[in-house]
């Protein structure tokens, strides 16, 4: 942690917060006993920021992402997305918020194998009951470099292409926050660069907020800020760091 000696809770950088985590804890109970995955995390994700969350295995980074996206309920603490408190929303309200404001990209591309690329990308719009405009879908496909592949099915595409479909699908609803969990985990380095470039572009050009969980220092280096998580607590951050700096910080944490 050479770059910073921060005190948390961390004060937000400039700009209004898109996503606000306030003293989030998460405890999993099982027969084997209780496990504290998160032990009080407070952080403001500024609008238009690209933040990577890193940490050793079991540090709680995936849990953090799931709580932030309302996929899982924190044991205590609140999550506020664009001024809306997730706590207290029912399943349907949460779903509506999710489809209006959030986009998801995961390591497993999570496409529907039965649908064409076009239909996969248009699906979130159909789910809201809107008829997707052909131009919108085509434009998003062009944005991710998949023009001409609209009629293919996921199985006919490479891993990188499938991930780009997933990004197109997340872009189509113009969400304010992008959640990405190891988006390049299954891709080679060249393809990874393209995918990360797309995420970068989303923040730079459209002002979308990206929260990305990763264990890859190269991927994390695309973010403006890298948050380090250890044992369910924020352990530090690096701004505009190189992969080497990030890797050094990670090996510090794992020691």
């Amino acid at each position: 942690m050479t770059a910073t000696a921060p005190t948390y809770p961390y004060t937000a950088p400039a700009g209004p917060p898109a996503l606000l985590l306030d003293s989030i804890t998460k405890t999993y109970r099982s027969k084997a006993g209780a496990v504290d995955a998160l032990r009080g995390v407070t952080y403001h994700f500024a609008r238009g920021s690209f933040t990577a969350v890193m940490g050793p295995s079991g540090s709680g980074k995936s849990t953090l992402l799931q709580c932030a996206a309302g996929l899982d309920h924190p044991t205590t603490g609140t999550v506020v997305l664009n001024g809306v408190t997730l706590l207290g929303l029912n399943e349907v309200e949460l779903t509506k918020l999710r489809r209006a404001e959030m986009g998801f990209v995961f390591q497993a591309y999570n496409l529907l194998p039965s649908l064409t690329v076009y239909d996969n990308v248009a699906l979130p719009l159909r789910l809201t009951g809107r008829r997707p405009a052909r131009n919108d879908v085509q434009r998003v496909l062009e944005q991710v470099g998949l023009e001409g592949k609209a009629k293919r099915r996921p199985a006919e595409l490479s891993g990188g292409q499938q991930q780009r479909v997933a990004i197109a699908r997340a872009l189509i609803t113009r969400p304010s926050v992008f959640f990405a969990d190891e988006p390049t985990g299954a891709l080679d380095s060249g393809t990874s660069r393209q995918i990360l470039g797309l995420l970068r572009e989303a923040t730079d050009r459209v002002g979308q907020t990206v929260v990305m969980v990763t264990h890859d220092p190269v991927a994390a280096a695309y973010a403006e800020r890298v948050l380090f998580l250890s044992d369910g607590l924020l352990a530090g951050h690096l701004d505009r760091a190189t992969p080497a700096q990030i890797a050094a910080a990670m090996s510090d944490l794992e020691r």
Binding site: L71, R99, L112, L115, L123
Partner: protein, 647 residues
């Protein structure tokens, strides 16, 4: 969401092929039963073949004219069988559809999670699953209905001029019956898919992120409550199978297993692992790793195991109980006939003319009368007898009244009929004779039941001759003169048999009739269950590609995986069959007890061949339809590995 339903059905063809076939066969059977019933309703025999009577009325019902068809134009036997075929097919259809849909949902948790993640509400997911059910059901129902329409003439040709329908039946207008069958198919699919849809709606978006699509092992409290309710219902029905329920025991023996099957299926996620643990003990002891793996797979996914076990349980319990109950019923009927005949010789056909060496001939005249009640009129078998001779040749033990008074407009009624209708000595039974003359018969005696020997109504011989001049003796009981050996006398009288031989023939005739009924009732259901068993197992195995790939990578040989699948399907089959056997034995024991009380020395005929055949067939199907896709998958996996190594 219908847009999505259509697409996903196309994709998950292997998951829905089973539901499609199951439903199409179900609608085909229902449609066939419906069109054939329509043909029997549309059948109007010649006027001479029925008797018009006016019911008595009273008790708030007005007297009305009804036409009662005589036995040579009576199609009600076929109608009864058809309605039973319809009931069984309907039951098994709901059952199979519910289990195939439950299975489809369980194996697609991740997909639903993904849809939830990108913004589908639980309601949309439910509608999507129901939409898929509609898409499959519509196609399947129409296919089944068309097939039924094509097969109807064939069935009617086969059914015409049989005991069940002694007339020529012509196809009636198919629109109404087929609409009913298609409607029933859609309804059944909706019912079957509903709980599956609800479960799909509960899948959370986070399920998309979990690698393992293992379902939660808990079962809902609602399901447990319903399971216990059905179990209580089945137990109540079991207690009703007792001596006092008489002929009602057989229908009870048919329906109780169905209720029991529903109960056990609802509770299956609890019951199957429990019984599975027991069966797994020898398996784990005798095999190496494959048996252990099979045990874990069966126990770790109780829902999956439960839906694999369900169709095997259903058919083995229902078919087993029916086969055993009917066999025991035939046993008790045979004993009843044996006890009811006292004469040593029985003559089939016309009564013997040559009276040499004969002490007495009990040549009763069989006829049919229309019994008129307050709001219905029914055709009843009756016999004109000479009470003095008949009480020597057969068991006519009088429960109350006096057989000696059986002269003029009088009748002796069997105890069971008297019990059903509340007849007492001195009561009047209004009847219409085949010559269309209405007569009020006074009950002079209530006699012991003797099914197969005495009909429910016995009237004086002269009365029978007077009102049914065409009626002829069809079988008579002969008492040899003193000192004449029955064995010698039999040689001299045409059509004569020793009573013991005749009794054996009657019993054989009963069993033959039962077999025909079983084939008609269980044939379609068995075919259907076979499809269902194969279907769930095929689906189950084809979904396991990923698991097989992983296991192969871990170093499991194809032979080990095949053995694992073999043991797994055998274990599920054994669990289902042992539950089915428990139901069969319980029902069989109770039916036997209820039918043999009051009759001594009833033979026991357990149709081992058929029962073991049912079990063996279920097991073979289960194992075969699990192994076939496994072998296929292993080949595919091996091929892929070769390609990857080549690159």
């Amino acid at each position: 969401m219908f847009f999505l339903s259509r697409q996903t059905v196309g994709r998950h063809r292997s998951l829905y092929a089973g539901s499609f076939v199951a439903l199409a066969v179900g609608v085909f059977l229902l449609g066939l039963a419906a069109t054939a019933t329509a043909a029997t309703i549309a059948y109007h025999g010649p006027a001479s073949a029925s008797i018009s009577v006016t019911t008595l009325g009273g008790d708030g019902t007005a007297p009305q004219n009804v036409k009662v068809p005589l036995s040579d134009a009576d199609v009600s036997g076929l109608q009864t069988v058809l309605s039973m075929v319809g009931t069984i097919s309907g039951f098994i259809t709901v059952f199979v559809i519910a289990s195939t849909f439950a299975f489809a949902v369980a194996s697609r948790r991740r997909e639903y999670g993904l849809l939830r993640l990108i913004g589908a509400t639980p309601r949309q997911i439910r509608r999507m699953v129901l939409g898929e059910a509609v898409a499959v059901a519509l196609a399947a129902s129409l296919t089944g209905a068309i097939a039924a329409q094509l097969a109807t003439p064939l069935l009617l040709r086969k059914a015409s001029y049989t005991e069940l329908a002694p007339v020529k039946l012509e196809p009636a207008s198919p629109w109404v019956p087929l609409a009913i069958a298609v409607g029933a198919g859609l309804l059944v699919a909706m019912l079957g898919a509903r709980s599956a849809a609800r479960r799909a709606g509960r899948v959370g978006p986070i399920d998309a992120l979990r690698e393992a699509s293992l379902e939660p092992p808990r079962i809902g409290p609602v399901r447990v409550v319903f399971g216990l309710l059905f179990l209580a219902g089945a137990i109540t029905m079991l207690t009703l199978i007792r001596p006092s329920s008489g002929e009602g025991a057989v229908p009870l023996a048919m329906f109780t297993p169905m209720v029991m099957v529903i109960a056990l299926t609802l509770l299956a996620p609890l019951v199957v692992p429990l019984v599975g643990r027991v069966w797994a003990v020898p398996l784990v002891a005798w095999t190496q790793v494959s048996g252990r793996l099979a045990r874990s797979n069966v126990l770790a996914a109780p829902r999956r195991s439960a839906s694999l076990a369900a169709p095997i349980l259903a058919i083995s319990a229902i078919a087993g109980s029916m086969v055993l109950s009917l066999s025991f019923a035939a046993d008790s009927a045979a004993a009843t006939i044996r006890d009811a005949v006292r004469a040593p010789i029985v003559v089939t056909g016309a009564a013997p003319v040559d009276r040499a060496g004969v002490k007495a001939v009990d040549a009763g005249v069989p006829l049919q009368v229309v019994r008129v009640a307050a709001d219905y009129a029914e055709l009843e078998d009756a016999e004109g007898i000479d009470p003095v001779i008949a009480s020597q040749t057969r068991d006519l033990t009088v429960r109350s009244g006096d057989l000696g008074e059986l002269t003029g407009n009088t009748v002796a009624v069997s105890k069971e009929m008297a019990g059903f209708e509340g007849y007492r000595v001195g009561a009047e039974v209004p009847v219409v004779f085949p010559d269309r003359k209405p007569v009020k018969l006074r009950v002079v005696a209530i006699v012991k039941d003797a099914f197969g020997v005495n009909p429910s109504f016995l009237i004086p011989l002269e009365l029978a001759r007077e009102h049914a001049p065409q009626a002829r003796t069809e079988r008579s009981f002969v008492l040899p003169a003193d000192g004449v050996a029955p064995a010698d006398l039999v040689q001299r009288i045409p059509g004569a048999q020793l009573a013991t031989d005749w009794e054996a023939d009657q019993a054989e005739g009963l069993r033959k009739g039962n077999r025909l009924g079983l084939v008609m009732l269980l044939g379609p259901a068995a075919l259907y269950s076979a499809i269902a068993i194969a279907n769930t197992l095929l689906m189950g195995s084809l979904q396991r590609r990923h698991e097989f790939v992983t296991s192969r990578l871990l170093g499991a040989t194809p032979a080990q995986l095949r053995r694992m699948v073999l043991w797994e399907s055998s274990l599920v089959g054994a669990v289902a069959l042992s539950l089915g056997a428990a139901i069969t034995i319980t029902v069989g024991v109770l039916v036997r007890h209820s039918m043999t009380s009051g009759v001594a020395d009833v033979p026991i005929t357990v149709p081992w061949g058929i029962l073991l055949g049912i079990g063996g067939l279920c097991l073979t199907l289960a194992v075969g339809s699990a192994l076939a896709p496994t072998a296929y998958l292993l080949r595919v996996v091996a091929g892929q590995n070769a390609i990857q190594q080549g690159q």
